[in-house]
Symmetry: C2
Subunit: 236 residues, 2 copies
DNA sequence: AAACAGAAAATTGTTAACAGTTTACAATTG
DNA sequence: CAATTGTAAACTGTTAACAATTTTCTGTTT
C-alpha cells in the first residue's frame, strides 16, 4: 500500500484538548441531571474536581454557554441553564427551520451510503422498540437519526448550528413525561417516511413530512413539558 | 427620584472584558481587509501588538472562529478565513432560512417602536442613496435593517444565530464588485415592502418578499463574487 | 536534486499566581 | 427590626512562566 492510499485510510488522530474533555464531562453531568438547573458552577471547584487548571474549565464553560447548557451572567457567574416554556418555543422553532434546510440539502446530496445509514438507524430504533426501550435510549436514537440527516446534507455550517442546538433538544426530549409507546411508534413511522422521500429525491414530500414530524414533536413536548427545568426544587 | 424610577433610567454599564476588545479589533481588521484571507494569526504576536496577554487573545480567536472569520486548524494554527463559492452557498442558504423565521416572528411580535425603527433605517438608506454612498456604507445600512428585523422578532436564539453569521454576510457583501445603483435601489424598495408587510401583519406577503429579497441578493452575489477571498495574492 | 532524519526554533496548550470585582456577612444606625 | 454601610471571603479576569507539540531548518544519504 503506497502512502497516498494510506492517507485515505488513516486519518490523523483527532486531537483532544483538556477543554474538550472538561466540556464533555460537564455536558454529560448536566444532561444526566447530576448538575441541576440553576446550580452554580465555580471554575476553581470544577478545576479541582476534574484535576485540571482553570484555563480548560473556562474554555469548556464558554462552549457550553454557546450550546445553551449553561448561562454566564454579566458578572461572570455561571449556572446550569433553566429552560422556560419560551425557551422551548425558541428551540423548536429554530429546529424546525434548520431541519427543513437539512432536508432540502439531503434530498440533493445524500449518497446511497447516507441513505443506507439513515435506514439502519430507523431499523435499529424499530428493533429497540419491540424489545422495550428507556426514555433515554429513545431520545438518543431519535437524535441519532437527525444527526445522520444533517450529515447527509453536506452543509458544514448547518451541521454546526445543529450541534449548538442539539443538547437543548435532548434536554427537552428527556423532560417530557409522556413519551408513550404510541409516540415512539409515530417517530419510527415518521423517520421511515423521510428516508423514503429522500431516497426518491422528492423534496416537497420530504419537507411535508419533516414539517409534520416537527409539529408532532413540538405539540407533544409543549403539552407535556414538565417544569423540571424551571422549578429549582424539582429533582427531575 | 426614587430608586425604582432610577433603576429604569440607569442600566448597569455593560462589562467588557479584554477578550471583547481584542475580538472587536481583530474583527475590524479582518473586515477592513487589513488582515488578509489565509494570513496566519499568532497568539504571541497579537498579544504583544495589542498589549494584552495571550489569554484574552485566545478567547477572541475562539469567538472569531465561531463567527467564521478565522479558521483554527486541528493543530491549533489560526488563519484568516477564506470564503469559497461553496461557503457562499452555505452562508446564503442559512441566511435565507433564518430570515424567514425572523420574518415570521417579527410579524407576530414587532412593536410599533420596532416598526418605526425599521422605517427609519429604510429612510436613512434612501436618503443616503440620493447623496451617493460607498460600498461599505451601503452594506452597513443593509445589515442594519436586518439587525433591526432580528431584534423585532424577539427571539434570542435566532438573534444569536444571526450574530454568528453576520460577519460572513458582510464580507460577502463587500467582495461583490457590481453593487450597482440599481441594486441599491432594489434593496431600499425591497426593505420598504417588508416593513409594509410587517406593519400589516401580513405574514405570507412578508415571507414572499424576504424570499425574493434573498434570491436577488444571492443571485447578484454569486454571479459577481470576486475570488478575493479564495485567491491568496489578491489584495481586494 | 529529492527524500529523509534529526535538531532547533516557533507556536500552542496548560498551569499557577496575582489583580480586580462581586457577593456574603456582620456591625451599625435610624 | 429593617435598611445601610463597611469589611472579609469568594470568585472571576488576567498575566507570565512552563510543558508539549508542530514546524522549520540543516545536513546527510541515495
Amino acid at each position: 500500500m503506497d502512502t497516498l492510499a494510506l492517507a485515505q485510510v488513516l486519518s490523523p488522530p483527532i486531537k483532544r484538548s483538556l477543554g474538550d474533555d472538561v466540556a464533555e464531562s460537564l455536558r454529560d453531568a448536566i444532561l444526566s441531571g447530576q448538575l441541576k438547573p440553576g446550580e452554580q458552577l465555580r471554575e476553581a471547584a470544577l478545576s479541582e474536581m476534574l484535576g485540571v487548571s482553570r484555563g480548560p474549565v473556562r474554555e469548556a464553560l464558554s462552549r457550553l454557554d454557546r450550546e445553551g447548557l449553561v448561562v454566564i451572567s454579566r458578572t461572570g457567574r455561571t449556572t446550569v441553564a433553566r429552560l422556560s416554556l419560551e425557551d422551548l418555543d425558541e428551540v423548536y422553532s429554530l429546529r424546525r427551520t434548520l431541519e427543513r434546510l437539512a432536508i432540502e440539502y439531503a434530498c440533493m446530496r445524500a449518497t446511497p451510503e447516507d441513505i443506507a445509514e439513515l435506514q439502519a438507524v430507523v431499523n435499529s430504533m424499530a428493533a429497540a422498540l419491540k424489545r422495550g426501550i428507556s426514555e433515554k435510549e429513545g431520545a438518543e436514537l431519535d437524535l441519532r437519526f437527525h444527526d445522520v440527516l444533517y450529515q447527509s446534507s453536506r452543509h458544514q455550517r448547518l451541521l454546526d448550528f445543529w450541534t449548538t442546538l442539539r443538547s437543548q433538544v435532548y434536554i427537552i426530549m428527556l423532560s417530557r413525561n409522556v413519551a408513550s409507546a404510541d409516540f415512539k411508534d409515530a417517530v419510527v413511522y415518521g423517520h421511515q417516511g423521510i428516508v423514503d422521500a429522500i431516497k426518491a429525491r422528492d423534496k416537497d414530500q420530504a419537507l411535508d413530512l419533516i414539517e409534520q414530524h416537527m409539529a408532532v414533536a413540538y405539540d407533544l413536548v409543549s403539552k407535556s413539558y414538565v417544569q423540571a427545568y424551571t422549578d429549582p426544587d424539582r429533582t427531575i
